[in-house]
Amino acid sequence: MSQWKPGQILQLETENYRLRSLTAADATDTYVSWWNDAEVQDGLGQKPRHWGRREALRHIGNFDNRQRFHLGIFPGEEALPIGFIAIFLESAGCAKTNTVIGNKAYWGRRVVLEVRARVLRFLFEDLRVFKVHGQVDGRNFASVFNYKAQGFTCEGVLRQHAVGPDGNRRDLLNFGLLREEWIAAQDQ
């Protein structure tokens, strides 16, 4: 069980990473750069945002550590995060998450699987959430892999629902994982 109380900084740990609620002090040049990086934003189906520190501060300020969490992913004892995972608690016991690995040196290193597994445990065990879901650009094959590898089900395809950075229309995929499915997977 986590020692977290609503409104407090949330901290979680995995074997290789620490997760911590980002604060204004984390609006570094590195963090800002992820929002302006074409490859990173392409994974979100977005164009580079042309953000500065002000936009980054505003974004981080949107997360209250009650219903909305913006957790930096820190390898070991390193001070700079390599990405983040956002959590949004919704009505009816559902939670939405999305994960961004901004440091490309960590792409393909199973970071998402490791940190999201810890977040799932926090959501299902500590917060007693009923369902976790996420939405992914249909051309983000790496993210699709991660959802499937973690036992999520593709619950629906929103056909040509978005416009990608290349100007072409793209499908959006909704993935979901029920608590009972997560528990069954833990028992295996």
């Binding site: 094959f141 790496a142 993210s143």
Partner: protein, 80 residues
């Protein structure tokens, strides 16, 4: 070589390349969750390689169905 055998060889080659393995290192039952090197980056490279080989983007349902070497072989067979 008959078309089925050719598709099987091509599927093995495409997956082995994506996983950075030699073809003879690839197990015949390679699949997501079973094959250690089949990670997110390898999966992305695999789908892009399949699209390049077939000369067209994969539709979402087809992309979602690719979870094993057998699925890749079946896709190549159905695309003839």
């Amino acid at each position: 070589m008959n078309p089925d055998a050719e598709n099987a060889v091509t599927a093995r080659q495409l997956l082995a390349n994506a996983l950075h393995l030699n073809v003879d290192e690839l197990e015949s039952d390679a699949a997501i969750g079973r094959t250690e090197r089949w990670d997110s980056l390898a999966h992305m490279n695999l789908i892009l390689a399949l699209e390049q080989y077939l000369g067209r983007p994969l539709d979402t349902d087809t992309m979602l169905a690719i979870e094993s070497l057998a699925d890749i072989t079946a896709l190549l067979r159905s695309s003839e």
